[in-house]
């Protein structure tokens, strides 16, 4: 066994090239907490401009095929890029692009050649930011129950309905969504995926006021919205994977969303939490020197290590093209439940300072307060913790009579 990614001299040269380029091109202060709405928009625009620069080098989606303007890089180079971007507190892409990540992966597996050529390059170049729209008021865990309708009318589909808990702040250019193309049709045989323009007449975005946004891996979306579709007309060409074949195509999307891709980065909250506890004194001693706090920190650290190892294993399974079973949803489940458990452990270790964003009495940039919110909320997006368990059971072969196979991701 070898747990370390080892690099050739050529790869080390690549790392130096990446590092130098990032140092010259990452906008200064990009990880700042925006001062106000105008600054938030300004920061978003900086991130998008940075994304286009990355895209031009093929580094925005490094593993995506070069034919479609992706980087066409191997796993090792991708890891190097992710590690180097991580040093700046950023991910790839550096902005919320859920529909770009998951939609493009599905299009690669299920799209026609024309669709790949039309939809993939703008995503990989960073020209468009894409939201994924799955959840509806009446269809959460039961994704197959979506009722947002897409009815064929000549060379177009007409969309009517509502999506909820979706997107981020500052809008989107494209929408990747699942809709019902055969209302009243047989369950699992009436759904289709669409990759559409986000700014068509009849689309209305309404921000929601929520406890938190949870984060779906990578970049925190900051805001969630309700999106209304009122007789929105889209070209038939935007339907991906075949009409009424959406449930099958969903397996790729959901497999990735449920953690199959894995992750190899550090745990961001842990590193900051340890530093905070080393720097914060109680009763004249750093928190890390208090026996009870130390014990809590040990428990927290161990869970982050197990989570890291599950992520590393999934990363390896996926990219070494090994058979997978329950591991994707297992990582998702573990991450979700650890986050929730950690809210209590951190609150006990740090006390009420974990609950305030106050510049003097809270943690730096309120990162602990954000964890207190997100730990609760992250249990649900991208398939609830309970859904992950259902999925695991089926893969293990106890949920149904026949064992369910993992979705195709490569």
């Amino acid at each position: 066994m070898d747990f370390e990614v080892t690099y050739t001299e050529a790869q080390q040269t690549f790392r130096r090239e990446v590092r130098a380029w990032l140092e010259a091109n990452v906008p200064p202060g990009i990880t700042r907490t925006p001062a106000d709405d105008a600054d938030s928009l300004k920061r978003y625009q900086e991130l998008r401009a940075f994304g286009r620069k990355l895209g031009a080098k093929g580094w925005l989606y490094p593993r995506a095929p070069k034919t479609y303007a992706g980087g066409g890089l191997d796993v090792d180079s991708t890891i190097i890029l992710e590690e180097e971007v991580d040093r700046f507190g950023l991910s790839l892409p550096p902005y919320y692009d859920s529909g770009g990540r998951l939609g493009s992966a599905t299009i690669q597996v299920w799209g026609t050649e024309e669709q790949k050529q039309a939809f993939l390059p703008p995503i990989y170049r960073g020209d468009v930011r894409t939201w994924q729209l799955l959840t509806e008021p009446g269809a959460g865990s039961d994704l197959a129950g979506v009722t947002c309708a897409a009815i064929r009318d000549g060379d177009e589909y007409v969309l009517n309905g509502q999506k909820i808990f979706v997107g981020s702040d500052h809008g989107a250019d494209r929408i990747w969504m699942i809709a019902c193309t055969s209302p009243g049709g047989a369950r699992h045989e009436n759904l289709s995926w669409f990759m559409i323009d986000a700014n068509l007449p009849g689309i209305t975005v309404q921000p929601m006021e929520l406890l938190g946004t949870g984060g779906e891996g990578g970049t925190d979306p900051v805001q969630k919205n309700t999106v209304f579709f009122d007789s929105v007309r889209v070209p038939a060409f935007t339907l991906v994977g075949g009409e009424n074949n959406g449930w099958k195509a969903a397996s790729t999307h959901l497999e990735l969303e449920h953690g199959a891709g894995g992750r190899i980065g550090r745990h961001r909250v842990w590193d900051r939490l340890l530093r905070y506890c080393q720097e914060t004194k109680r009763d004249g001693m750093p928190l890390t020197q208090h026996a009870d706090t130390r014990d809590l920190l040990a428990d927290i650290y161990i869970k982050t290590e197990v989570q890291r190892l599950f992520g590393l294993r999934n990363f390896w399974l996926t990219y070494a093209k090994r058979p997978r079973s329950y591991e994707g949803p297992q990582l998702s489940y573990y991450r979700k439940m650890t986050g929730l458990w950690m809210t209590g452990a951190i609150l006990e270790a740090v006390g009420p300072a974990a609950l305030t964003t106050d510049a003097t009495w809270g943690s730096p940039e309120g990162f602990l307060e954000l964890q207190q919110r997100n730990g609760i909320i992250a249990v649900h997006p991208g398939g609830t913790a309970d859904v992950q368990r259902v999925s695991m059971s089926r893969r293990i072969g106890i949920g149904r009579v026949a064992r369910e196979a993992a979705g195709t991701v490569h």
Partner: protein
């Protein structure tokens, strides 16, 4: 990065699995549970033929000195039984302790016999009414001329009833870590080992009544070097013990999946019930946490990376995981799991026995935090 086993490790795994299935099927293991000694002569002889007691002993002392990961592959298979016997006590912790603490002459005198399975080591560390750690070693030998005289008790000694030799931790100074290791003939007059009854798997009381050992029994020949040597040995041995527990977790996982597919209640296999699924998922999460923390610690050791924190982490996680895995398995099996003949109980008992063996999870978590220099 490549998280797969090598081809030769896959072969070792396959042959060890065949061996365990043939030599130690469930009904045999269940029958062994009541034995005074963990050593089953027939099984031990065949394991010796396969070279297992010498798997970590260097060739200079008659062993095959495989990597720790190789040894772990074997111990995972033994743990699936769980196969009893002094495999770990003698071939791993005992042998590594002799290597770390013993002089060249002492190594030459004992290790070849250990590798041949003729000598069997057990490591006696804990004293009655004390906790774990060097400060807890209180048995104080009397120096009588060129001999040591031992009077006292060692407790919770694994596999002492099977041992030919005991490595005894003794207090030889007043500093917290002033501990020395003595190699004592387990059949010497005044030594008596007795398996402790109840819900413990082959942990013993060892009494020393006026046992005289020569000065040459002091490992390394110098006082107060014992604990440091023992810690170095434990630092390599513990992940192998963890692998034994990973094998246990894997076995109870497979039992539980099979049972939830086959057991029918309310007209359906019980695996269809989400409450039952929850137990299986809790179990597999513990299994995988144990598996991967252990594998990473082994890899760090085999590649000579800093591994102290990873070893303590693995022991803490694995001890908790094995216990929790068995708890979850009992939830899945209900009454059937409590039948001695079914085989789950052997794991449950082993999981409890190994929970605190060589330091409980809390102790290891604290050493992990120390090693990380928080």
């Amino acid at each position: 990065m490549d998280l797969a086993l090598t081809e030769s490790q896959e072969m070792l795994r396959a042959s060890a699995r065949t061996f365990v299935e043939r030599e130690a099927p469930t009904h045999t293991l269940v029958a062994l549970q009541k034995q005074e000694s963990s050593l089953v002569p027939d099984l031990w002889r065949k394991a010796v033929d396969a070279g297992w007691p010498g798997i970590l002993v260097p060739p200079a002392y008659g062993g095959s000195e495989s990597t720790l990961t190789d040894a772990a592959v074997l111990f995972e298979e033994l743990g699936r039984g769980p196969v009893p016997g002094p495999f770990f006590s003698s071939g791993v912790l005992g042998a590594l302790t002799i290597l770390e603490a013993g002089s060249e002459a002492q190594r030459k005198a004992i290790l070849p016999a250990v590798a041949r399975g003729e000598a069997v080591l057990a490591v006696a560390i804990m004293d009655p009414s004390t906790s774990w750690g060097p400060q807890a070693v209180t048995l104080r030998p009397q120096r009588v001329g060129d001999r040591y005289r031992l009077d006292g008790i060692k407790l919770f000694v694994s596999d002492a009833t099977a041992a030919t030799h005991l490595i005894v931790a003794a207090r030889t100074g007043d500093g917290p870590a002033d501990v020395s290791l003595l190699l004592v003939d387990a059949r010497a007059p005044g030594v008596r080992a007795r398996r402790l009854p109840g819900f413990l798997s082959w942990q013993d009381e060892v009494r020393f009544d006026g046992v005289e050992v020569p000065a040459s029994a002091l490992l390394g020949g110098r006082d107060n070097q014992g604990w440091a040597a023992l810690e170095r040995a434990l630092g390599r041995a513990l992940p192998v013990l963890c692998s034994y527990m990973v094998g246990g977790c894997q076995a109870v996982y497979e039992m539980s999946v099979k049972h939830s597919q086959q057991r029918v209640q309310f007209g359906v296999p019980i695996g269809r019930f989400q409450r039952v699924q929850d137990h299986v998922i809790r179990l597999v999460n513990h299994l995988d946490a144990a598996r991967w923390t252990t594998a990473e610690a082994l890899w760090k050791l085999d590649t000579e990376r800093t591994a102290t924190d990873a070893v303590h982490l693995a022991k803490a996680v694995t001890s908790e995981s094995y216990m929790e895995a068995c708890n979850a398995a009992h939830e899945v099996h209900a009454g059937q799991g409590s039948l001695m003949e079914y085989g789950l109980v052997a794991h449950t008992q082993m999981s409890r026995t190994l929970f605190a063996h060589l330091g409980d999870p809390r102790w290891h978590k604290r050493r992990m935090a120390d090693a990380l220099a928080w």
